[in-house]
């Protein structure tokens, strides 16, 4: 049974629904992230779980108990804020000890637990510092220690890394994942950063205007987005709207006017139900039209409109009869502007979405 369950939850702000009939289940010990652009309702969902917000309708069940009306301070959930929200007037030690002291724990035990937790986040020796004397990464680790030391039943992260620089972000997310797995603590993680969510999650829920568009393991979402919205959000930059589809053994045959394309069926047999073909710029391949394509079918001829240099590869905007396609390709001698080319669509990379 799921540890957390949001059932038919609605949240409105200024008479506008942010979440409507929202449902979500999370298994014990898993890290689930809510991914989406700002305004998609991911932070609202997290704040609802934390208890900072009340639902208009619906239920929030936690471990089989109705938590809908349990106030924040009685929930025993750890929350890590985007701004870290450390107590500015308290030392690192007092910040971490805050929750334990509220629980009337003996000072000797407080000391033992705080010390151990600061070791876990590699901040031993920083006990006496004030938050303003710490770097961004150190503050974030104090915030994590403070949330973890109370041995919360659930850990919640609200864009915890967005104020850190790129290198630190990568280190910190590995750190968060390590701690989460070591302690086996159920976690909900909110971010707008696709890579961040994919790298650390057991499950990712891609959200769009208050609804979950797709909830699955990161690799499933990455390869097989369920909808056009998810596909666009995770970087499928090219789309072809097909007019008909039919079963062709291991593949699906698609047509648009006189053009025929093949797309491989998904391995698990599910999905692939739509009529919209999606493919990443990295997965398309280009040949000069003077050269014979090594494979027949799934090609489209076009003309290079714009060419930009990305460092590792070149990016081309190729104009075709089906519109403009974006292609990233590594090559020594790039195509020139105006050059005639053939675009090849590998059938196992062409995904059908709704």
């Amino acid at each position: 049974m799921a540890l957390i369950s949001l059932e038919q939850v609605s949240v409105a702000y200024d008479n506008r629904f942010i979440l409507e009939d929202f449902n979500l289940q999370i298994e014990k010990g898993k890290l689930l992230s809510l991914l989406g652009p700002s305004g998609c309702g991911k932070t609202t969902t997290l704040r609802l779980i934390a208890g900072f917000l009340n639902a208009e309708q619906g239920k929030f069940m936690f471990g089989g108990k109705d938590y809908t009306n349990v106030p924040v301070n009685k929930r025993n959930f750890g929350f890590v804020f985007q701004s870290y929200a450390l107590f500015p007037h308290m030392s690192v030690y007092d910040n971490v000890a805050f929750g334990l002291r509220l629980r009337k724990m003996k000072e000797a035990e407080v000391k033992q637990r705080v010390t151990r937790m600061l070791e876990i986040v590699s901040l031993g020796g920083f006990e006496k510092r004030l938050p303003k004397a710490l770097s961004g990464g150190q503050r974030q680790r104090v915030a994590i220690a403070r949330a973890l030391v109370i041995e919360p039943d659930l850990l919640l992260f609200d864009e915890p890394l967005s104020n850190l620089d790129a290198n630190l972000r990568v280190n910190m997310r590995v750190e968060i994942r390590r701690i989460q797995q070591e302690l086996g603590i159920t976690t909900v993680y909110v971010s707008h950063d696709q890579e961040e969510c994919f790298s650390i999650s057991d499950q990712v829920a891609v959200m769009n205007s208050g609804k979950i568009e797709q909830l699955a393991h990161p690799t499933t979402i990455f390869k097989y987005p369920a909808s056009e919205y998810v596909a666009r959000f995770i970087g499928f930059g090219n789309f072809i709207a097909f007019e008909s589809r039919s079963d062709a053994g291991e593949d699906i045959e698609l047509s648009r006017g006189a053009l025929k394309f093949l797309a491989a069926k998904r391995p698990n047999g599910a999905g692939n139900l739509g009529m919209l073909g999606a493919i990443r710029p990295d997965d398309l391949q280009l040949w000069p039209s003077t050269q014979e394509a090594p494979l027949s079918g799934n090609t489209l001829s076009g003309r290079v409109q714009v060419s930009t240099y990305l460092g590792r590869s070149y990016q081309y905007e190729v104009e075709t009869e089906l519109g403009v396609f974006t292609v990233n390709q590594e090559m020594d001698v790039p195509f020139a502007q105006g050059e005639q080319v053939t675009i090849y669509f590998p059938k196992d990379k062409l995904v059908l979405v709704q």
Binding site: V72, N73, R75, F77, F81, A85, F87, L102, R146, A147
Partner: protein, 262 residues
């Protein structure tokens, strides 16, 4: 320094002379040994400083002023801290109106406010003079309390409050353990500024004082009407020193930039 700034320097000097001149003259004349205030003084004496402590009305009204300013301050804090908190923390309808309402005692001419308070508190509701005086002073201190504390709260990240709650603190506990310690210097500055405003106030007090109850500035006013000896100059010097000392403390606490920005 650049050459071209000489004219500007002279101008600045003139402004300072204009502003500080009277204060300097009063300070010098307060040491006059004779019975009539004059400049320059004919000698040096602390006679009139001694006189302050010998005229019982000064001591009595000084006590009243201190009590009214301190008690009024306490009342203004009790009203002002929650108001400042609510105005900074929450978005609600009518917030701007409420904000303007709380600040209005500074905008309304003191004489109008004083008369209105007299008309209602004393004439209509028949409150004792002392109570009326206290309420009047609370009203004029409130805007300063709210303004200064609100600007202190403007720098406060309210996520910190949520953090405390998520760790198990109730609302009141959160306020006293997390919010209050972080706006402590703001509150202290607010208290000092409000104190100065109240202690030096004339226009409200002149309406709200009466037989047997008076504040120091009003007593000084009355004294000047009847005597022309340098006692008033001596008191003025003491008040100036007191004010300067408080301003110095406020500056030290949070800097004047706090009040000029925004």
């Amino acid at each position: 320094m650049k050459e071209g700034n000489r004219g500007l320097s002279l101008y600045t000097l003139l402004v300072f002379v204009f502003l500080l001149g009277p204060l300097v003259i009063i300070s010098i004349t307060s040491f006059e040994p004779g019975t009539v205030l004059k400049f320059p003084p004919e000698g040096f004496s602390l006679r009139w400083y001694r006189n302050i402590f010998e005229v019982s009305m000064f001591m009595e009204t000084f006590k009243t002023s201190i009590i009214v300013s301190m008690l009024g301050n306490l009342l203004a804090l009790l009203l002002g801290v929650p108001a400042a908190y609510a105005l900074s923390r929450f978005e609600f309808r009518g917030r701007d109106t409420l904000n303007a309402l709380f600040l209005s005692p500074v905008l309304i001419p003191g004489i109008v406010l004083g008369f209105t308070l007299l008309r209602y508190l004393i004439v209509v509701y028949g409150l004792p003079i002392y109570a009326g005086l206290l309420i009047g002073h609370t009203v004029i201190m409130l805007p300063f309390i709210i303004r200064v504390i609100a600007s202190s709260l403007a720098n406060f990240d309210f996520a910190v409050e949520e953090a405390a709650q998520s760790l198990g603190a109730g609302r009141l506990e959160t306020f006293f353990k997390v919010v209050l310690p972080n706006i402590r210097s703001g509150i202290l500055a607010a208290v000092l500024i409000a104190f100065l405003e109240s202690f030096n106030n004339v226009d409200i007090s002149v309406f709200m004082t009466g037989p047997g109850v008076s504040t120091l500035p009003i007593q000084m006013l009355t004294y000047v009407q009847n005597y022309f000896d340098p006692t008033i100059a001596a008191i003025s010097v003491i008040l100036m020193v007191l004010t300067a000392a408080l301003m110095f403390i406020i500056e030290r606490l949070m800097g004047f930039a706090y009040f000029t920005k925004r």
